[in-house]
Symmetry: C2
């Protein structure tokens, strides 16, 4: 009996509700945001078995560290977090007026944005299937849409043939590109040129799909459609609108713009996406409120030691000098580029694994403009312009539509582009972002007010964007990193299949919380 | 010299800014939301030429009527609006607790939604290129995203082959459909089976595009990709996620689901789209605030008369009996199905034209549920599920994400489906919407609280959704409707190429405001 037969049979007996129940059991419906069916430990787990809440030292007050403390706290574990910075959040960092940062070997930078304006320097978008949405609900963090896919934003290419050095609306490029591709396949179908012939019913259905998909005329040729927008918009009375001139297929192929379509289909970047109202750091702030008195700020971890039945962390603070703290278990969320330089009682295998993992180089700049010309003049409300210039993308704000001012992300780039821009002085980065952006938005020059940039690989306590695993890393080193070293458990986005996403940090925290709790429940009860 | 040559030359001399200016002049950039370059009449126009503000009678306090009064009022015209209902907005109508409506030959219905909840019974989404965005800015109506395209919503088909009677995520269907189509064309390209051969460079570029677009493997076959989602989601530690079983191409084609993709590309429904925070009626409410004392409510127009140099409108009110009002000009925004039944001094040609135009039949139901199971359980935050059942679509709310309760649009249908559901009793409509919706969301039964439905073709003072022109109507009758009848000018969505959109009403109002103002400026000045 196939799965479908089984479900059909269930449906005949029990109706839709029964079918859905059965599908759920078969794992056919991904209704849960989490791969694991996480149950936070409860006070009852410990109290009813005569155990007390062990002391858990947590290194890092980012998403993973605070989530672990929050979830363990539900059961009465005695958690304490050591955080190197004076703020929580780690890479979840929202830059606002007064934000100060000095990169490694860098100049001191202070944000001078207008009050109320901000940009998310780290994570900036949440897919709706991620567990992050559930934490926002549980923690009371209100969400709004993040406009990841806006057809009105532009493609802009350089050195890519006839369509270079001019901006084109995404809808225009998509309509033309899909049109020609559909026309080509329709021709092959109509001429029975396909090696693997379709049944005549399937051929007919495919042609109907292609006609719609490509906006083809009744003879299956592409002659443009309203999906590609108008040179003159429709209006009232005698204004039906006029289509613009089509791009040629060969120009489009040469431009490379069509290769950008698929990024919007990727599972983690498909619409809808979301962001907390008021900045991504509303999430760490909400977690922090759940952990009063449990975080020591400005505590830089210097040593991670295994002791007889416990852990000891040596750290320094600006005022207190070198201190140490002991606990029963340790959850270490320090990113690998930093962690691998801290003396620790880890196995040689573990030390080697940490050394093998590369981290993404990535940078961003937030540019404040005195008017929202991208809305008023360019009719772009949210979304992302994509270019093959080294600035890579321009992000339009997804909040405060129609407001006076706004902050664009002037570049968000990776790899060599991020290294090159990261190596510039702050002034050079800004000048570069403005020069490149001006090619797409000539209004940049007149409207620019102030900027703030960062290169994550040069940010102290991070030294990288996110773990970047190769297939062989995942086979050879990732499992080692995921196993506890004695009583020390690593957690963070780098210990998940959601690297670079907050969901990875949340999921990883849940995993080590479960592992530690299971371990504690295996130990001998302490007499009361 | 081609247009591109010209622009290249401009660019070499003046740089990007000059190019954009030149493109603007050539109409190559649709930066304006409006096809016309509308300039509202000013007080100076009249005062400086010794004219006074003529009296303009406006029939209907919907978007078109109030916009006309608002724009003419800027110049000091003496506008007065007669409105049949006790509220403004016309089809821009937000249903909330206490909303009462009795359809023609229908039962009285009172909305019993919880306070704070609503649904937009008429227009419910705003494309970012529409002039509506500008009015929201000018009138101070804050906007939020309307989630028109959500890949996490479902397709659900009946009587459509092997994939019938089960819900599928849009991303899953899109990934599989695009995958097979890309594979098919890649094969044809690789086997040089195309009649019109591509250059080898173009063929290579096309293959690269197809590989990305379809999520193809390196041998250009489709074997699934993460874009189609997971049967088990990725997670932390040893959970890489598992892809589900692919649908077959023939099953997909037979299901018809792929024919739905293109609707999301249409120019007026591409993302991003928007809605006013708090309900679509925030727009008419903002217009109404600009027109204090200028609207007579409950005034039902009975006759439209041309007089010697003016117009006279006969109307009745509940309390005041039959009355009349005179003016210099009249702007009539009454929808044609209603207007054609009102005695009026219109030409035979005009009366015939009005009789020829069909209006869309369309209906909606708003269903309040006591939990947002579509978010909590189904991971759908906003967006639209599409089905070939007669309910046509289910809309998930685009606001108050993560809240406790919410209102779904349980059907939004057209044509015969709308007529059939419109002919049902209120209780039958609701039972039908619940029965059909339960096939997609089995949670309906347990979570439903209260509903409110409407059929626009049965709503008094509208009697239809929007003007529905054929190509020949546009040629033969639309121009007649757009010409003034003496001193009476028609305005509304039906006098535009944006039928069914608020933008049509705004554009049409601007058009008649301009026409009347030009006419007044041609008349002899009145001595002061």
């Amino acid at each position: 009996m196939t799965r479908r037969d089984f479900l059909n049979r269930v449906g005949k007996v029990g109706g839709a509700v029964a079918v859905f129940g059965a599908m759920e059991s078969l794992g056919l419906l991904s209704t849960s945001a989490s791969a694991s069916s996480f149950q936070p430990p409860t006070q009852g787990d410990l109290a009813l078995t005569g155990r007390n809440g062990k002391r858990i030292l947590i290194l890092g007050a980012g998403i993973a560290g605070m989530t672990a403390a929050y979830e363990l706290g539900k059961a009465g574990y005695d958690c304490h977090i050591l955080e190197a910075r004076q703020r929580t959040g780690g890479r979840n960092w929202t830059v606002r007026r007064g934000t100060r940062e000095q990169e490694i070997n860098g100049e001191m930078q202070t944000a001078t944005y207008d009050p109320g304006h901000y940009f998310n320097a780290g994570p900036a978008r949440i897919p709706q299937h991620h567990v992050t949405m559930d934490y926002c609900k549980e923690l009371g963090v209100p969400l709004e849409v993040f406009s990841n896919g806006n057809e009105h934003a532009f493609y802009y290419q350089e050195n890519a043939g006839a369509l270079s050095n001019q901006r084109y609306r995404k809808y225009e490029v998509k309509a033309d590109g899909r049109g020609y591709v559909a026309e080509l396949l329709a021709k092959a179908v109509n001429q029975s040129a396909l090696d693997d012939p379709l049944t005549s019913e399937d051929a007919e259905r495919l042609l109907e799909y292609l006609r719609r998909e490509g906006g083809l005329s009744s003879d299956y040729t592409y002659q443009g459609s309203s999906a590609r927008g108008y040179a003159e918009l429709p209006g009232a009375g005698d204004q039906p609108g006029t289509l613009g001139q089509l791009h040629s297929f060969t120009d489009l192929l040469q431009s490379g713009m069509m290769n950008n379509f698929s990024s919007e289909y990727s599972f983690n970047q498909q619409m809808m996406m979301f962001q907390p109202i008021g900045g991504m750091d509303q999430i760490p702030k909400a977690l922090e409120r759940k952990l009063p008195g449990k975080i020591t700020f400005g505590a830089i971890v210097r040593e991670i030691r295994q002791t007889n039945g416990g852990v000891r962390i040596v750290y320094t603070t600006g005022s207190g000098g070198t201190q140490s703290m002991s606990g029963d278990y340790c959850i270490c969320t320090i990113p690998l580029p930093v962690l691998k330089k801290i003396p620790a009682d880890f196995s040689a295998e573990m030390k080697n694994a940490m050394n093998q993992i590369g981290y993404a180089t990535t940078g961003k700049i937030g540019l404040q403009f005195k008017s929202r010309f991208w809305e008023n003049e360019d009719r772009i409300y949210g979304g992302i312009t994509t270019t093959n210039m080294d600035i890579n993308q321009i992000w339009y704000p997804s909040s405060d539509f129609l407001a006076q001012k706004g902050i664009l992300v002037g570049y968000y780039n990776f790899g060599n582009n991020a290294v090159a821009l990261g190596n510039m002085s702050l002034a050079e980065r800004q000048a570069h972002a403005l020069a490149q952006g001006t090619k797409i938005h000539p209004q940049y020059a007149a409207e620019f007010e102030t900027g703030f940039s960062l290169a994550w690989h040069k940010i102290r306590y991070n030294e990288g964007g996110w773990a970047s695993y190769s297939e062989s890393d995942l086979q050879n080193y990732y499992p080692i990193l995921n196993r506890p070293q004695g009583r020390v458990y690593l957690a963070g986005e780098h210990l998940s299949y959601y690297t670079g996403w907050m969901a990875g940090a949340f999921e990883s925290a849940r995993k080590v919380v479960t592992e530690i709790h299971e371990q504690v429940m295996k130990e001998e009860p302490v007499s009361a």
